[in-house]
């Protein structure tokens, strides 16, 4: 099953690597993941590709202590809903911080990490996670 889901992963690659979603030029709303139709403007909506700046804040989060097999090496880890500055919300892991120090409202920025891998011989999936803004992210 090493080839499991390769096409699906490849299709989402661009938005997973660089947080590319869509923006409706009619109402100005941002969407992630990208949408084919603006749910507000429907037929009048004009969607264009939009690369999010990758900055936002933690809307809410959970500390995972009972993880699926593939994630046991990372326990305990944080999964959060991040509200991007442009307005869209997405779910992502929070890294480079101890779980006990994560707080709602904390400023975060996207970073590039390994998300999962399909066994030893399978494909490796990369994408965004988030980390607190700090000196090494270029934010003091």
């Amino acid at each position: 099953m090493a080839e499991h889901g390769v096409a699906n992963i490849w299709r989402k690659q661009k938005s997973m690597y660089s947080i590319i979603g869509s923006k409706c030029t009619t109402c100005g709303e941002h969407y992630f993941p990208p949408r084919p139709v603006c749910p507000t403007c429907r037929r009048k909506g004009q969607l264009e590709e939009y690369q999010f700046k990758g900055l936002g804040k933690i809307h809410t989060f959970a500390v995972v202590r009972q993880a699926p097999e593939d994630f046991k090496r990372q326990v305990p880890y944080v999964v959060a809903q991040v509200e991007l500055d442009e307005g869209a919300r997405l779910t992502a892991q929070i890294v480079n911080i101890e779980p006990e120090n994560v707080e709602i409202g904390m400023r975060v920025r996207s970073c590039f990490r390994k998300i999962t891998e399909y066994g030893q011989g399978g494909i490796i999936v990369y994408g965004y996670k988030f980390e607190p803004t700090m000196k090494v992210t270029g934010h003091d």
């Binding site: 660089s18 046991k72 590039f112 998300i115 490796i124 990369y126 000196k135 090494v136």
Partner: protein, 347 residues
């Protein structure tokens, strides 16, 4: 003139102390740290590898240079720990920094000098006008066999360098290489850990290649040690580059600033380049840098760089090597073993 138009680094957050490793194997920690000149080393997180480290370093380099990533015509990633045996790391990096699809890319492998070999390739491509800007990366998540001397130094980190001809922050005035077939260190296909020739890695390998490349460079450029402000030698540990400096009669203060190995260990393909990046963080316009990398197997690439006024316009854009060195969290040997997949039962 061809040169570095931007650079960026990345060092993972985790560190393990030499003493912590020594405790596990019954060695004398403080003595080992002093002897090797490595006091702690960087450890990648469980979700970090050469692709993620390279992307982070490359994104910093692009921000530093202030370029449009679509102007990058070549991406070469040098590493001995590419995540795939077959499938380039370079394509992952190129996609993640937004410079696909009109570019050439390939992965390089030459032990610890694959990154500087990539710099030389991109220099040739830009000087011949085949491409406008080239991205050369040296990045590794090096592993040593548990209990082996290498385990004290094998570390993780990466440096991305953008090579171009327009407004470089440091011009590369000259480069040359010294290469022979010397089996001092190797890893066979399918093996988890490398093997090495122990003491054979010293005189006939590191010291011969770095020394000869340095001497050939001084001869070619008709210069002496006094003509340079900073020296960078590949850092397999803290001891070798210092001894190399002594052999070449380099004043201690001209070498000291590049010795990042003491705090982060040997970042392999990123090792000499990390030393160079630290010097570029602090050097003044007009100052000259003499760098020699080393890769087992074996070869050395020597470079003469001159820092330009342009550098002052770019500083402060991205975190420095020291910012990354200071950002750290210590882990125990057990956590390190878990993160580095030394615990096989976990898959």
């Amino acid at each position: 003139m061809v040169g570095i138009i931007g650079y960026g680094v990345y060092i993972p957050r985790y560190r393990i102390k030499t003493e912590e490793i020594a405790d596990v194997w019954g060695d004398n920690g403080p003595q080992m740290a002093r002897g090797l000149g490595v006091f702690e080393k960087s450890v990648p997180g469980p979700d970090e590898d050469v692709a993620t480290i390279s992307v982070e370093a490359a994104r910093n380099a692009i921000k530093y240079a202030g370029i449009d990533p679509r102007d990058i015509g070549a991406v070469y990633v040098g590493s001995e720990s590419h995540p795939y045996a077959v499938k380039p790391t370079g394509t992952i990096v190129a996609e993640a920094i937004g410079c696909t699809p009109y570019l050439t890319a390939a992965d390089y492998e030459f032990a610890c000098k694959a990154g500087t070999a990539a710099i030389q390739t991109t220099m040739g491509l830009t000087q011949s006008k085949m491409i406008k800007i080239g991205l050369a990366i040296g990045s590794d998540t090096a592993q040593g066999r548990p209990g082996d001397a290498l385990e004290y130094s094998a570390a993780a980190g990466g440096v991305a360098v953008l090579i171009g001809e327009d407004n470089p922050v440091a011009t590369i005035e000259e480069t040359l290489s010294f290469t022979t077939d010397t089996p001092d260190f190797w890893r066979r296909e399918g093996e988890d850990f490398p093997s090495h020739g122990a003491r054979f890695t010293g005189e006939p390998a590191y010291f011969r290649h770095v020394g000869e490349a340095a001497k050939a460079m001084l001869k070619k450029t008709d210069t002496t040690i006094d003509d340079y402000d900073y020296f960078v030698f590949h850092m397999p540990n803290g001891k070798f580059p210092v001894n190399m400096g002594k052999q070449l009669k380099v004043p201690k203060e001209k070498l000291e600033d590049s010795l990042v190995v003491r705090q982060i260990g040997n970042t392999y393909s990123g090792s000499a380049m990390m030393g160079m990046a630290r010097i570029l963080d602090i050097a003044k316009p007009g100052e000259k840098i003499f760098m020699v990398s080393y890769g087992s197997g074996a070869g050395s690439d020597a470079f003469v760089l001159k820092v330009e006024e342009e550098i002052l316009k770019h500083r402060g854009e991205v975190p420095t090597v020291d910012d990354f060195i200071e950002r750290k969290t210590y882990v125990s040997y057990a956590v390190y073993a878990k993160y580095r997949r030394k615990i096989k039962a976990l898959g």
